[in-house]
């Protein structure tokens, strides 16, 4: 690890100011991606801005038609939340599938969403549910937030404070775990709302994406059989030592079926 300055601000504006005023500074939430990168000397920020002391960034609130999850809420808390389990069980299930117990205790929803790893689970839930990303500066719709491989709409110094999820009629997540990392080789989140169905895929390509043909078919008939015959184009899908693009494409269909099945059960 290379040396760096460490800041632990008490207010969100202070944190934002530190991030904009110190060049090459990075914020740290749970640190599940950043800390290993630092240990491998692959990143050398001048300063770390630790968000753990910021008030009101942890916890889950029931807003009626929506649920708000504070950016610093660990995955384990979301997974175990009675509220999330009751209102969006598919989201609680997603949180319970992230990493391992240590990662779930430490990793946060805000960190995961801001990092936008192409194989992370939360982006599928956030995009699949059409959530709103609440930041220190504004609110961003999920459809406008994820911009591809580790890229998001966040501006420098902008800090996620919460994610607001609309409560769906039904929602489910199915994940095919990469054998070694247990990130999503392919993960599919399917959510049914009164005005239609959203399907979001993680792991398969360079970033989370929606599948309009599946959404259209499921809006007609929310059943696994509706997507069973829908094949995904391999263009833009990832090929690596674990899975070639055609296998990932096939898994999108299988996981979509299973996500709908999970939503219905």
């Amino acid at each position: 690890m290379k040396p760096f300055a460490y800041h632990q601000p008490n207010q969100v504006p202070d944190a934002a100011k530190l991030l904009t005023s110190i060049e090459d500074s990075k914020l740290v939430a749970g640190g599940m991606t950043l800390i290993p990168t630092l240990k491998q000397r692959l990143a050398s920020p001048v300063a770390l801005v630790d968000l753990s002391k910021l008030p009101n960034l942890k916890g889950i609130t029931d807003d009626g038609a929506t649920i708000s999850i504070g950016a610093m809420t660990p995955h384990a808390v979301v997974a175990a939340s009675k509220l999330v389990q009751a209102k969006i069980p598919g989201l609680a299930a997603l949180a319970s599938m992230i990493g391992d117990p240590a990662v779930r205790s430490r990793g946060t929803i805000g960190g995961s969403v801001a990092n936008n790893d192409p194989a992370a689970d939360y982006p599928a839930g956030v995009l699949g549910l059409g959530a709103t990303i609440v930041t220190s500066a504004r609110e961003i719709a999920a459809d406008k937030f994820f911009l591809g491989l580790f890229e998001t709409a966040l501006e420098p110094g902008e800090i996620i404070t919460a994610i607001r999820f609309p409560v769906p009629l039904k929602a489910g997540y199915a994940k095919f775990k990469a054998p070694a990392s247990r990130y999503a080789l392919v993960g599919v989140f399917a959510a049914k709302f009164a005005d239609g169905v959203r399907v979001a895929v993680t792991g398969a390509g360079s970033g989370v994406f929606r599948v309009p043909p599946m959404e259209a078919a499921l809006s007609q008939h929310f059943d696994p059989s509706a997507v069973a015959a829908i094949k995904i184009d391999t263009d833009g899908l990832t090929s690596d030592i674990h899975a070639e693009a055609d296998y990932r494409a096939h898994l999108v269909t299988v996981m979509a079926k299973r996500a709908v099945d999970a939503a219905l059960s």
Binding site: A180, I241, H242
Partner: protein, 795 residues
């Protein structure tokens, strides 16, 4: 007598007291006064000429003490890292043995090859300076696969090793095999890959070296399975340090699996450097560094043919293998795919003629050497796979074809056509036991239940034998071993009757401190608590060859047994004097020396006391003290074996293979501690399952980059991959080891890969699948199903 806990008992492990309370003492826990930190700079290229290294910026960095390179090694006239085995080809021509410099000179030959050692006050400073080192590489094309490496025009690693072939080795009667094939009613053929593995012990490798100018002595603390061998190889052959001036300590070591049974360049560099800078130096590998420097395992490409008569009797077996050695010859490297592979191709069968040809090949990859099982899992896999292929092609039941060819219990001792003679065994008994334990007769019901869920269920057998307890020195010497393979033990009885054992094996997770204490407790009748086992320090332990090849109990335990016999023999002489009886009339039983037919006795403690306070003692004929030493060189290998049955369920939608049942009935000879044996079997099986389903070291052809270079991409088996295993022993006693033991450290890893893959193939056989290469990953299975002749069912 006290609390004797002897052979056959399962006390909790003595060593777990410190391991489970965080009080172990590992190399990285050790701090020496004035200790500096060292970091190795490694080649980022698979193959490159070293045109020059500019040290100036690194030397000027804060805290830097020294930067050492291959030129410094050459200037000091140091030796090459030695290979412990020298094999020869069919004509008796020795293998090609190019030098393996401890820091690269002229060329680098794999990603991870060491080019410099940077020493600084702190590891952060050393790391920062290492990044400032300018190495001028002329990058050359890499070759990483054995098939590619032997092709004409392939990149050549060494100018004087044509076609990258180190040795074209063979074993067996080629003409007899050809004759048998001409007469065969059926010939089964199989091409397969035995995947490259990375050992991944929990504790990464580490070393500390220190030089004391006052005594001109070096001390090396290292994560080693065999400190005495490191002392010899490094001191005598690399650094020219006299043996009495070099202490090698391998304290608590967090797992080895073979990875730590080699003499590594890092050990030599750090020991040499400690004197050059007159500072103790510590180096601790990161996990990522281990991936590109810990010796890898397996990596074969094989073509096999089995000739059978019309009844399914095996007539002859022919195997051609290309074995990957990596960029240089590691300590045991060329021995593994030859001497530990070919002689096991007979398996538990009466195949009369066997021929094996192995081309040992250099490639631009990490050197390959022994990994748990070492050669024997590869042999078992090819044999047990082709037996299934033959059964399928001939329409024979897979159990029946095995049964027809098995050596009967009364057929032992059995001389194979490939050098080794099995002393004992009962493969039919193991098979029968496993069939019952695995509930094979109800497999059809379970298969139907799986089918109802849209899953394909398969059952796989592996009836195997291995050779362990390495090794009879004379035999090994004929095969090319450059050292002996005996073991030694000293039993020191203290004046108060407690016992300290100094033994040359090394305990790094196997439970030796418990098992060996049980042997002493049983044989001397002393309390289990009153026996301590000392190992891993060349200054404390007389000598030893270390722990690998399932040899610790077989060879080390035998030395210990002999030494305790000597203690009893001396004790009888002392007791005869004290009890005023003839020595022949003295009996020793349950910790008491007594005169036969009388009630006159002396306890073990009384005899120990008399030996050290010899007021009333036969000093004219007997030395005082009670300490005995024994060396034991085995007369043969031991041959554990057994039957493993795996049951898998395949999800045809995703290609996922789930291991749902696993049964092992193994013949490991006498069992000292059943709990520890069970644990060894569990661990071994899981590692074999890892090879079969998950683990794969993948290199990029051309660049030589390791693509599976971390735990994110190299899949280790995990607890949730495993069902509850049914493990039992069905033992016949070894006829030539003192206690009848055969060893159990590797059986799990040797038996399991074939059982698992045979189960996967069985599950998919209705689709025309005849073979699946390891690891049977979801991606690979799905692709097989895409290409299979029948449509995939299951919706």
């Amino acid at each position: 007598m006290g609390n004797v806990i002897g052979i056959g008992a399962s006390p909790k492990r003595k060593e777990d007291q410190r391991f489970l309370t965080g009080r172990g003492n590992y190399v990285s826990d050790i701090k020496r006064p004035g200790m500096a930190a060292g970091v190795f700079v490694r080649s980022p290229h698979g193959h490159a000429k070293l045109r020059g290294i500019d040290k100036s910026a690194a030397l000027a960095a804060p805290g830097v003490i020294a930067v050492l390179t291959g030129d410094d090694v050459a200037d000091d006239g140091l030796g090459s890292l030695p290979c412990g085995w020298g094999i020869t080809d069919a004509k008796g021509v020795p293998m090609k043995e190019p030098p393996f410099p401890m820091l690269a000179q002229d060329k680098v030959r794999f990603v991870g090859d060491m080019v410099a050692f940077v020493i600084a006050e702190t590891s952060d400073q050393a790391n920062a300076a290492a990044e400032l080192l300018t190495v001028d590489y002329e990058v050359l094309p890499s070759v990483v696969g054995v098939l590619e490496a032997v092709r004409p025009g392939a990149p050549q690693l060494f100018d004087d090793v044509p076609n990258n072939i180190c040795c074209d080795w063979e074993l067996g009667d080629k003409a007899a095999v050809e004759t048998a094939f001409r007469k065969a009613a059926h010939v089964a053929k199989l091409s397969l890959v035995n995947n490259r593995l990375i050992g991944n012990p929990m504790e990464p490798r580490a070393a500390i070296a220190e030089y004391e100018p006052g005594t001109d002595r070096f001390t090396l603390w290292t994560t080693s399975q065999f400190p005495h061998v490191v002392r010899f190889l490094m001191g005598a052959l690399v650094l020219n340090i006299p043996q009495h001036k070099l202490r090698v300590v391998a304290p608590d070591v967090g797992g080895g699996f073979g990875v730590k049974q080699f003499h590594y360049g890092e050990e030599a560099v750090i020991t040499w450097a400690a004197k050059r800078v007159m500072r103790p130096i510590k180096w601790v590998a990161s996990r990522s560094e281990g991936y590109v420097s810990d010796r890898h395992g397996r990596d074969h490409v094989t073509e096999a043919e089995l000739a059978l008569d019309e009844t399914g009797k095996f007539l002859a077996f022919r195997v051609k293998t290309l074995a990957n050695m990596g960029g240089y010859l590691s300590t045991f490297g060329p021995n593994i795919p030859t001497n530990l592979y070919g002689p096991l191709l007979g398996g538990v069968y009466t195949t009369p003629a066997i021929y094996c040809n192995v081309k040992v090949v250099f490639t631009n990859t990490v050197p390959v050497d022994a990994y748990r099982g070492a050669g024997r899992p590869e042999a078992t896999f090819v044999l047990e796979r082709i037996v299934d292929v033959a059964a399928s092609e001939m329409g024979l039941d897979r159990v029946e074809i095995r049964r027809r060819n098995m050596i009967p219990k009364e057929g032992y001792p059995y001389q194979t056509p490939v050098l080794v003679q099995y002393d004992s065994g009962d493969p039919v008994g193991c098979l029968d036991g496993a069939l019952v334990a695995a509930d094979v007769k109800n497999f059809g019901i379970r298969k139907s239940e799986s089918a109802r869920k849209g899953k394909f269920r398969g059952l796989g057998y592996s009836t195997y034998v291995e050779a362990c307890g390495l090794a009879p020195s004379r035999f090994a010497g004929r095969l090319g071993a450059r050292g002996g393979l005996y073991e030694s033990a000293t039993v020191r009885v203290h004046p108060t009757g407690q016992v300290t054992v100094m033994i040359g094996t090394h305990n790094h997770g196997q439970g030796h401190e418990t098992t060996f204490a049980q042997i002493v407790s049983e044989k001397l009748g002393v309390s289990f608590e009153n026996v301590d086992i000392v190992f891993g320090d060349t200054d404390r332990v007389q000598f030893g060859m270390g722990t690998y090849g399932s040899r610790s109990l077989v060879v080390g335990g035998a030395a210990l047994s002999k030494a305790t016999d000597k203690v009893v023999a001396k004790g009888k002489k002392i007791a005869a004097h004290l009890l005023e009886a003839a020595e022949v009339d003295i009996q020793f039983e349950a910790g008491k020396f007594s005169v036969a037919g009388t009630d006159r006795t002396k306890t073990f403690e009384e005899i120990a006391g008399a030996a050290y306070v010899p007021h009333n003692y036969p000093l004219e004929v007997l030395e005082p003290g009670l300490e005995e030493q024994a060396y034991y060189d085995p007369v043969n290998f031991t041959y554990p074996g057994g039957c493993h049955i795996a049951e898998v369920e395949v999800d045809p939608e995703t290609g996922t293979v789930t291991l749902v049942n696993y049964t092992a009935v193994d013949d490991v000879g006498t069992v000292i501690n059943p709990m520890i044996v069970e644990g060894q079997l569990h661990g071994g099986i899981v590692q074999g399952v890892g090879q079969a389903l998950f683990e794969n070291a993948v290199y990029d052809e051309g660049s030589g980059q390791l693509l599976s270079g971390s735990l994110m991409d190299y899949c280790m088996p995990r607890a949730d991959h495993m069902p509850m295993m049914k493990v039992a022993t069905h033992s016949t006693l070894c006829t030539h080891t003192p206690m009848g033991v055969k060893g159990c450290g590797e059986v799990g890893t040797i038996g399991s890969p074939a059982a698992v893959i045979n189960a996967v193939v069985d599950a998919l056989s209705h689709l025309g699948v005849t073979h699946v290469d390891m690891p049977a990953t979801p991606n690979r299975i799905w692709r097989l199903l895409q290409n299979a002749s029948l449509p995939v069912a299951a919706e």
